[in-house]
């Protein structure tokens, strides 16, 4: 488990070990910690838009003693066949899940890139820029990744966040569906149906998903 403070120290350390400016996007438990939804996470989920930035980040991780590890038992076997499955690096009990451009079938959409919740710059000689995705994107990606505890995290966000924008989430899921992610609607719909047992979600959002699927 990685605590919030440890995570910040780790990013600062990586920032000291890079030899060019790097930009990446944080989602999953990492992003949830930035929001203050939780205090610890099993893994640090990052997605890179630029391959060279990803390589430099991995180099920095290796310099810090992280080693490549298997994704077996963490993601469902059918997910691991995907060519956009993450590269995973572990050192003791901290782990990085590193994606490149796509999180499985889900691409980094223009809205994900522009409409971020926070930007954290870890400045040393070079800058490690970490963009934290919006809560609606975090929920959508958690619905897509389907790991153990992902649903509990989604429930935590939906319950703690008064201003959760279901319309935004629905629109984004439809956008991704129309841009080649054929599973996203099913994943989001399944998540919403389960979540409806715990919190109130208006029917119109599910209807929009069904209409988009046709």
């Amino acid at each position: 488990m990685i605590l919030y403070e440890e995570q910040m120290e780790l990013f600062a350390l990586i920032g000291k070990n890079i030899s060019r400016d790097i930009e990446c996007y944080a989602f999953g438990g990492t992003a949830m910690m930035f929001y203050g939804y939780k205090d610890e996470t099993k893994d640090i989920d990052l997605v890179f838009d630029e391959e060279a930035a990803k390589r430099e980040f991995i180099k920095a991780l290796e310099r810090l003693g992280y080693e490549k590890t298997s994704a077996l038992n963490i993601y469902a076997p059918e997910k691991l066949k995907d060519k956009h499955a993450p590269a995973m690096y572990r050192r003791e009990d901290s782990r990085f899940d590193i994606f490149s451009r796509k999180i499985f079938k889900t691409i980094l959409s223009p809205k994900m890139k522009e409409d971020v919740y926070a930007v954290h710059d870890f400045k040393h000689k070079h800058n490690l820029r970490l963009k934290v995705l919006r809560k609606e994107h975090i929920v959508m990606l958690k619905a897509v990744t389907e790991r153990k505890n992902d649903f509990d995290d989604i429930r935590t966000i939906a319950e703690k966040e008064k201003s959760f924008d279901w319309q935004y989430l629905t629109d984004e899921a439809i956008w991704h569906y129309r841009h080649g992610d054929k599973w996203v609607l099913l994943d989001v719909e399944k998540m919403m149906r389960e979540l409806k047992q715990h919190i109130f979600i208006e029917k119109k959002y599910l209807k929009q998903l069904y209409d988009a699927h046709g």
């Binding site: 939804y37 926070a118 954290h120 870890f122 400045k123 040393h124 703690k160 008064k162």
Partner: protein
Amino acid sequence: MERFELLRKLEGMHTAETAAEALSLGRQSALNLLSKLKKEGYVKTKGGGKQKRLYRVSAKKQRTRNRGMFDVINKYSPMKLAPWYDHQVHGNYGPEEALIDALETQSFRVILASMKLFNHITDWPKLYRLSREKGCWQKVGALYDVARLYFKVRKMPARYRQHKFLREKFLIKKYPTEEPVFYAIEKMWNVSIPFKEGDIRKAAS
């Protein structure tokens, strides 16, 4: 009562009395609870002493922030910005870095408000180095000359002016210079200035 339910009930701004009323507790019990929640990071306080103490309770943990571009600009500029994302920098960050970040946003209001930072630039070599790295010294120079027309600014060392810029740049993409008063600046730095005089006066007051 479960922690989450408790936070849900208390979420928002409170005094010790309103918190006690919301939870049907005595004042001292409510204060003890608020103090415990504060230690856990769910409560931020304001006031105290002569003023009434206010407690801001949130269901999410309220993390301590590092300052970022919006904080630096809002500190020095009379024209305040409402941040549309939370920018935080972990490391050295001052007016020099904030000015470069402001130019990178391509936002009209942010660039306008950032002009006031020129009066707080103490390290010109640093500003020059940073802007050369980002390829925006041309824009910094043009913005400085615009700021100099309307505000009190610190003097830029003359050696940083001795450049010829062949490539035309825009402070904000595809916004040409319309005010005749900026034509000379545009010519010198080869940068289009999108502002009207009225905009800059607004930023000054």
